[in-house]
């Protein structure tokens, strides 16, 4: 039996409620998924977020992807042409990106608060209202985005650009271009990103980091 046929068979067994299918799958995937994710994600994430690319986070993302699939196998459609392995990899990849984005937002917020504290120490009289004002710097990015872009898709693209997202596949997913050939996806994504960036750069002064 090929690996693909094996996965398909296990998928059917999970769907039918076979009590041992989850255990068999976990044994098989623990090896394959971990190696692939370690190989692929660590390389990319160390380049982008060297301070956050801990193996703990990657392990958690892998475990989440496997457990989520075992409990809800119907989320994966065998007949759409994507392999189970790629589905899990994408899921772990997505979780990891979300975790990193969350950490980044938290860090940004901490920086804003640290800035406020430093100003206070320097002798600026900081009222309670002033602190609240400083904290509201983060939502202000969202407000500017909403003002600049009427289309929710454009708003999402702008958020991703500001979050430092660089993966073409992530932008293609938001734009609904997954079914296009990669070359066309790249072209379309670049066009949209250029358009959004242009608008963003025109209003640079309005967006506070």
């Amino acid at each position: 039996m090929t690996l693909d046929a094996w996965y398909r068979n296990i998928h059917e067994r999970l769907l039918s409620g076979d009590p041992v299918a989850s255990s068999k799958l976990a044994e098989k995937l623990a090896e394959k998924l971990a190696n692939a994710v370690f190989g692929r994600l660590i390389r990319k994430l160390r380049q982008r977020f060297p301070q956050l690319a801990s193996s703990e986070m990657i392990d958690e993302a892998c475990a989440d992807a496997v457990m989520s699939y075992i409990k809800r196998p119907e989320q994966f459609d065998c007949d759409r042409g994507k392999s189970l392995f790629n589905y899990l990899l994408m899921s772990a990849d997505g979780d990891l990106r979300n975790a990193l984005a969350k950490a980044k937002r938290r860090r940004a917020k901490e920086n804003v608060m640290a800035g406020v504290e430093l100003e206070s120490v320097a002798g600026n009289e900081e009222s309670e209202a002033g602190c609240l004002d400083a904290e509201s710097n983060l939502p202000s990015v969202q407000i500017v985005i909403e003002r600049l872009f009427d289309d929710p898709t454009d708003q999402r693209l702008a958020e991703m650009i500001l979050d430092g997202e660089r993966l073409t596949t992530a932008f293609a997913a938001v734009l609904g271009l997954e079914r296009l050939p990669v070359k066309d996806q790249r072209k379309q994504v670049k066009r949209h990103k250029d358009r959004i960036k242009k608008k963003l750069s025109r209003s640079r002064g309005e967006i506070r980091d």
């Binding site: 068999k24 475990a63 457990m67």
Partner: protein, 125 residues
């Protein structure tokens, strides 16, 4: 056999998730003060088989397929089906007992609160 750390992470998750048999085994171990070696001995299997067992789906004790599921799981993990069935039934019974007093206590507290409220209302009248 040396397993990948991710496999152990999945087993740990299974031990706290009622979807998996691992949760019932962990519950049994905790309430009976049984460690892995003793549990393996009880189930007549190797200690390594406990990880396999933990990751199996928990069969519903009230489902007609319970016996068949237990047999299938015990064949897969090479353990005693009778012992496994007994442990699972005991744990399910234990869990339902643990739930009942709390539910009763909550219900009693609710009734007591209602009584007091009723008394105050009557006093005010």
């Amino acid at each position: 056999m040396t397993r990948h750390p991710l496999f152990h992470r999945l087993v740990e998750r299974a031990r706290s998730d009622p979807f998996f048999l691992g949760r019932a085994l962990a519950e049994y171990q905790q309430s009976n003060g049984v460690d892995d070696d003793a549990l393996a001995e009880l189930l007549d299997c190797k200690t390594e088989a406990l990880a396999r067992l933990a990751l199996c789906r928990m069969p519903r004790s009230d489902a007609p397929s319970f016996q068949q599921d237990v047999r299938q799981i015990s064949e897969y993990a090479s353990c005693s089906p009778d012992q496994l069935a007994q442990i699972l039934r005991r744990t399910v019974a234990l869990l339902s007992l643990q739930r009942t007093p709390t539910a009763d206590a909550n219900q009693n507290m609710l009734l007591a609160a209602r009584d007091r409220k009723g008394e105050r209302k009557r006093d005010a009248e």
